[in-house]
Symmetry: C2
Subunit: 492 residues, 2 copies
């Protein structure tokens, strides 16, 4: 499509002025409405070198209150980003409720030639990128973020003229980099790449807007018009649907009863436990060093019944790891700040750097467990979460993250015994709360939720492992064994 678009559209100066002014006034008013409506807006700029993105953004934000928008220049990939899956840096910066965020050079960059080398680990094939990008945008859109994607298009001649003008002025000559010259020289090659990118990432929710940008006035005007219309349409839509129509609720499937059919009792002798523990922790230590040397990251998720022994299990898992290479993240209820963003945001932020481990004590699966069982989240929203979770985990795996998920499994009698023991021991009373008793009363609902979760999110690159945990020692050995085996495999 791009090659068919004539970048050279012009507008008379007086017509431009006549039209721009009211658009800008409208935009200033819309900015206030965006804040009141708690609408997150993400405006994405891509385009040719010297296509005038800076000037265009300048015209766009000119009427707005500068306290309430952010412009992120992401033309350089920082080391923090390089050491993580490529969407990580963008996930961390998504706008909160009522915020307008403008990104100059977005996640689409990774699709362009020469860009993928920015990330340290070998990334998966190009098609995975498109899948990851489209899933990311769809997830934000479904969560209520308005995404407006703009591509600034200029012709080869115009680009060449602009580079020359910049070069001729000593105060701007430094802005032209070798890759800019390459782009102009191999314009048609790049055109194909851009076209491909635009086609593959044009989706129903999140289409691209091509801005003909040879003429800066035309470009500014069209951008303002598109953004004003998009924001206004969304705000009106939000007001009209304040009484939300009933969302489609999927029927409850019949999923295999995993938990009810899994034993909780597996035993291990004390002497064997000690020997195994020493052996496996030493193995874990060696593998930790190897992970760091090879810059492979790992994510380990703990879920399970209350009082199943997650804390003690995690402690044994990391005991011999170099403490500089892992972090344990306990997950509680989200803070107001976290509630202002897509629910995956707070987890993605904590993902490990290459070469490091992150262990989650409870996780993003809360959405399809406690949030489902206790009706904290509308049905269609948690039903959507299986896909979102799978897409996120796929994105991690594409980057080379080793991902394991454990369900620590005890039976109801064992749980009752442990609750009572905690309540009668003053040193452990802080570990038992009303919430634990409430969860216990919902045992069967949790079983149903867990069965569906296993059925929908057990994947080769992100398997679920049920750990028989009535005997805590057995559980610790099983986790250590599973993790060290998986790391060993992955590093081979």
């Amino acid at each position: 499509m791009l090659s068919k678009i004539n970048a050279n559209q012009t507008i008379e100066k007086h017509l431009y002025k006549d039209e721009l002014k009211p658009l800008q006034e409208k935009l200033a008013a819309l900015q206030q409405r965006v804040r009141k409506a708690d609408l997150p807006v993400l405006i994405v700029y891509e385009g040719w070198g010297a296509s005038g993105k800076g000037t265009n953004i300048g015209k766009l934000v000119n009427p707005m209150d500068p306290r309430y928008f952010d412009v992120l220049t992401m033309s350089r990939v920082t080391e923090e980003m390089r050491l993580r899956p490529f969407l990580w840096g963008y996930w961390c910066r998504i706008p909160g409720k009522g915020q307008i965020t403008i990104i100059d050079k977005s996640w689409h960059r990774v699709i362009m030639p020469g860009e993928r080398e920015n990330w340290r680990l070998k990334q998966a094939e190009l098609d995975c990128f498109y899948q990851d990008v489209n899933a990311f945008e769809r997830q934000l859109a479904q969560d209520g973020t308005l995404i407006i994607k703009l591509f600034l298009h200029i012709s080869q001649d115009e680009q060449s003229r602009r580079f020359k003008a910049l070069e001729d002025d000593p105060s701007t000559a430094w802005r032209i980099k070798p890759h800019d010259r390459a782009q102009n020289k191999h314009y048609n090659e790049y055109l194909k790449q851009y076209e491909n990118m635009l086609q593959k990432t044009t989706t129903q929710h999140n289409p691209w807007h091509i801005i003909e940008a040879d003429d800066k006035r035309y470009s500014a005007l069209k951008t303002c018009r598109i953004i004003t219309e998009a924001i206004e349409a969304r705000l009106n839509e939000m007001e009209e649907t304040k009484q939300a129509e009933p969302a489609i609720v999927l029927p409850n499937g019949n999923y295999p009863h995993i938990l009810a059919n899994t034993t909780t009792d597996r035993n291990i002798e004390n002497a064997e436990y000690k020997e195994e523990l020493d052996f496996l922790q030493a193995r874990m230590n060696r593998l930790g060093h190897k992970m760091y040397a090879k810059r492979r990251p790992a994510v380990i998720v703990y879920e399970g019944w209350d009082a199943a022994g997650k804390g003690g299990n995690i402690k044994r898992l990391v005991a011999e790891l170099d403490p500089r290479c892992y972090a344990v993240v306990p997950i509680g209820p989200p803070t107001p700040h976290e509630l202002g963003r897509h629910y995956l945001w707070r987890f993605i932020r904590r993902m490990p750097k290459d070469g490091h481990f992150t262990i989650f004590d409870r996780s993003w699966y809360g959405r399809v467990l406690i949030e489902r069982v206790e009706n904290l989240t509308p049905v269609p929203v948690w039903q959507r979460a299986y896909d979102e979770i799978n897409e996120m985990e796929q994105h991690l795996a594409n980057h080379g993250v080793i991902l394991l998920k454990f369900w620590l499994h005890i039976d109801k009698d064992e749980q009752l015994k442990r609750f009572n023991a905690r309540q009668s021991d003053p040193a452990k009373q802080h570990k038992i709360t009303d919430a634990d008793w409430i969860n216990r009363s919902n045992w069967e609902a949790y079983e149903t939720a867990t069965d569906e979760m296993f059925a929908k999110t057990d994947k080769p690159h992100a398997p679920w492992v049920v750990v028989e945990s009535n005997n805590k020692k057995f559980a610790r050995i099983k986790v250590l064994q599973t993790v060290t085996d998986a790391l060993d495999d992955a590093l081979r």
Copy 2:
């Protein structure tokens, strides 16, 4: 002192075991008390290459619950850090209430040879570093953070042996870098540098603990002992002083009456305003590019009476700046998350990268203005803030930040006129709240606070400029003129 310490202290294996076990148990219990007491703990590891920091940290954290401490490995300076004053990266990572943060390689690094080149801008002289470091540590300590600084000391022979052992093992050989070998070869040179660093940063609040580390058991034991004792002593102290003794309140000084003696009325003709505005905004645009090219950062602070016109003034200041190179940060009441840390934390986090502008709409001066006037903060705490602010601004200036602070000044009649106008215009009603009327009723108290603030924080590298603002147009021109002059000067 370091050169007089024999690094080779040993302990028998059985004595070590006998003593370590109870210390570790104590530490596990103390960790829980730290959480309950909301005590932030910052443990700093420095020391020779191969002095065993990793192993030592491992022993230390072994008994702790891994969910409630963080280990930060900061042996590499990231680009995010390189583009800002050297304390910035550490400020961003200070522990919150009840958190234990362990840092492997801290801010002291900048003092060592070859390290200062990590930061892009020319830093000030070495003595400024010591001042900045000591001020940072004192500020955290006064705010209630327990800082424990450890230096792991090994002899030249032991270091040489350890490097050899690492090199001989193919799985660890990669860990030895050229600068490690240089350190061993020029051991005595480094010794002097370390000694100097230790002496200059040993302060009353925050002394160093030297750990003799030739023997790893001895090193682990001494570390655990020091940390256990320090945490326990602090917790006991906190419990004893729950009824805080009356803090020393300084007498109110008699400061020159700046505001009461400054006119608010300065006028400008409409035609002149337009001409000046165009000229100065174009100048600002050129200077913005120059700032970026030369990688100089700037911080601009707006304070002033309510309804003095800060928002409109900021808008004119940034109108022609490239929106990718500035951020405007509105400051409201702190969030609970922000209240959990030193009050400067939330401002320092937002400081600009080299080459960028940050404009604060209200700022850290809130502590000595609204927090003082409305008794939101105890007297000794806001009295301490003048020094803290001066030290922070000095640290910015040492890095090369251009810093300007504006007080937008209107008189009481003008304010009343504007309040009434806002209240009668539906489009502006959101801009006036009860808080504005309360502030107005405290006008004289604000005058007193402002006079003291000017007297104590007006510095050559961070000047206050009072802007006569009854006429908004005059005020905008004055700010633009002042800022562009200052940038021009600094870039010359």
